[in-house]
Subunit: 242 residues, 2 copies
């Protein structure tokens, strides 16, 4: 499994992904699930993946190869004119990779994957998309300002309750740490290290990027203090009376 979250803030975009992949509980590996393409001053596109690892690696590789072979017939993620076209390109690539595995007595279900892709091109607003295995996609809006993929449920309530589009990048990262901590506590298939990337609106270059390693003191502190903070929050609620 996997856990990735993409947040759309008024200040820009925040991406965070874990790095654990597993087939069963004893075939556990570490893979980066965040990929970025940059043409400084013109565009930044960041992609996070969940699902079948062979599928998601193939999608990332195909997208990457095309940027290096501009003579090819197919458009490159560094060339299409809008984030909408980026989402379409990623969606088509994802669908094609999954479809290529279908048949021969295999069901496409086993090869499914989903993708969060976000970024900014030129003067347009930063945009954030969730792409389904079928290749179609939805865009984050004021009503649904963030997307999760992978093991989404444990970490969702805190996002629903505490997300605010006006929050600072620092507060957004803090919130994501809590959401990832709740997921980590409940599900073995989500694991440290986490990759974190900030995209500041209008920057058109990759913002601050960091990897939160196993034993990261800030994450450990959040994890410890959050347990207490939650218990205090419950204590502060009005008491039930029969």
């Amino acid at each position: 499994m996997t856990y990735c979250v993409g947040l759309r803030l008024n200040k820009g975009l925040v991406f965070m992904s874990d790095t654990r992949t597993n087939a069963g509980v004893d075939n556990v590996s570490r893979f980066k699930k965040m990929f970025t393409w940059v043409n400084r001053g013109e565009r930044v596109v960041t992609l996070m993946t969940a699902g079948n690892l062979a599928t998601t690696q193939a999608v990332a590789s195909i997208l990457d190869e095309r940027t290096k072979a501009p003579a090819e017939r197919n458009p490159s993620i560094l060339e299409v004119p809008s984030m909408f076209q980026v989402a379409r390109l990623v969606g088509e690539t994802l669908r094609d990779v999954i479809a290529a595995n279908d048949g021969d007595g295999q069901s496409a279900d086993a090869f499914k994957a989903s993708v969060i892709v976000g970024g900014q091109i030129g003067e347009s607003e930063p945009r954030l998309f969730l792409i389904y295995p079928e290749g179609n996609f939805i865009e984050a809006s004021g009503d649904t300002p963030f997307f999760q993929i992978g093991e989404t449920k444990y970490g969702r309530p805190i996002l629903v309750r505490a997300y605010d589009p006006d929050m600072s990048f620092e507060d957004a990262v803090k919130l994501l740490m809590v959401s990832f901590d709740s997921t980590l506590k409940a599900n073995l298939s989500v694991g440290l290290p986490f990759d974190l990337q900030i995209y500041e609106k209008g920057a058109l270059e990759v913002g601050r990027e960091t990897r939160i390693e196993d034993g990261d003191p800030y994450f450990q502190q959040i994890s410890t203090v959050w347990g207490e903070a939650l218990r205090e929050a419950v204590d502060s609620l009005p008491s039930f009376k029969f």
Copy 2:
């Protein structure tokens, strides 16, 4: 879907279940998922169910019929000598009902259900069990002092963080309200009203029981105040610095 939680406290047991059942999103009904058998002064057994409604209703009906036909060959839930035997009886009944639907081109998967059963018989300690569709079961212990069935993920982090075996019944109910609220906010298939039952250790009669109706002022208050309390809890955490 469904959401039920059984908590084992030092003071006794707490049961809470929702009442929504659905097949698709437009075939929504309300059914009680909590069943209690009492022989005052001798035993109290409470059962909560999740899964296929036909299966769970059949299990409850079969268990209930047997208590009224004591001449039958099969043991009754009011007669077996221990809570372990109660769990075994419920497990066998559940497995038999599911197996009876198997075959005829139908897979047993569609008829699966799981059960939480708890209570006390005579001088023995109160015990709490989680019963799988296969009929086998596990018992709550100091390490795993509560069970959830149905839509368990959204409401789990708060239980993991704030549960304390020494807590009062009032605090336990407050905690369950928060856990149910988080689930309700995220999943349409879990719905009010909720059934709540307390079993006080050694009482050997049903403790306080109540139904939390749609529009219950306490639940609404918890739901509102919890959002704020969570945001404050996040604010109270140390800030992230790049």
